[in-house]
């Protein structure tokens, strides 16, 4: 199947997951918020569904490998030191900015939230500038 069709279907599944989570628990399917709620200090009280969600995330490629023989996970494009730096920036950024690509990008935009629309415009812009500088300037 064409990659763009698969991308559309994959996006649809992400949407289905977000709608189901809202219907079941009344929660936004934002990965940064779900993960951060488990961390110190003061982890959230509702830890069961958060841990189960993360378990489900990691289980998906494992099952995909069993069924199709390919987990569709690519390899990192940068070295370990840069991955640590990028991980720190992502962790600090999504917590300070109250969300990432899923919480702001899918759920927030679908709720027509102006905060989320602004967040998406900003992180896509700084990500594009970063890629431009790394690939075409440095």
């Amino acid at each position: 199947m064409h990659p763009y069709i698969l991308a559309l279907i994959g996006g649809g599944l992400i949407g289905l997951s977000a709608v189901m989570l809202m219907a079941f628990t009344g929660r936004i399917a934002g990965i940064s918020g779900i993960v951060a709620g488990l961390l110190p200090p003061k982890p959230a009280d509702d830890r069961t569904w958060r841990i189960a969600f993360i378990l489900g995330l990691v289980l998906a490629p494992t099952v995909l490998t069993l069924v199709t023989g390919d987990n569709r996970i690519g390899q990192p494009t940068i070295g370990p030191a840069l991955l640590v730096a990028a991980g720190l920036l992502v962790g600090v950024g999504v917590t300070l900015g109250s969300g990432c690509t899923s919480g702001h990008g899918i759920c927030g935009v679908s709720r027509l939230s102006s905060r989320s629309a602004a967040a998406v415009a900003i992180f896509v812009a700084t990500a594009m500038v970063t890629v431009f500088v790394v690939r075409h300037v440095l």
């Binding site: 990659p3 991980g87 690509t101």
Partner: protein, 147 residues
């Protein structure tokens, strides 16, 4: 038990969506972000599919009185576009562009067991803890000052 089913099923479907759409390949994500290079529009299709389903689905779900297995909907109230939102999103974008990983695909990619992905996620958790810790201590500080 309900919480377990809700979390596991939605997490699994979410992860499947990320894998099928290749968002778990940082090269595809960076291909979208690289306007000056061989631009890869895949991410646009993922966002379009995700927002279309969520927009329609939320319309129906949020009209209900309450969620199936919780007393109320926990949806963020409309707020102002403040400094933490702007600076946080800007910082996140730099890390996202640098690595091609945002939190979801990074967690899903842990299944590959690659050392680089594990390093990224551990650093991400450290960053999250740092901001949460700073917020709590600042909140405690203002609380004390008020007293």
């Amino acid at each position: 038990m309900r919480e377990l089913i809700a979390g596991l099923s939605t997490g699994f479907i979410f992860g499947l969506g990320l894998c099928i759409s290749r968002m778990t390949d940082p090269a595809v994500v960076q291909g979208f972000l690289d306007l000056a290079g061989a631009w890869d529009p895949t991410l646009i299709f993922v966002m379009a599919g995700g927002v279309a389903v969520t927009f329609v689905g939320y319309r129906f779900v949020l009209r209900q009185k309450r969620p199936l297995w919780a007393p109320k909907f926990s949806v963020p109230a409309a707020g102002t576009i403040d400094a933490p939102l702007i600076s946080g999103s800007a910082i996140f974008g730099v890390g996202w562009g640098l690595s091609g990983y945002c939190p979801g695909p990074a967690v899903v990619s842990l299944a590959s067991g690659r050392r680089g992905v594990i390093l990224f996620v551990v650093a991400m958790l450290a960053g999250m803890i740092a901001v949460r810790w700073m917020r709590t201590s600042r909140a405690a500080g203002t609380h004390q000052a008020a007293r």
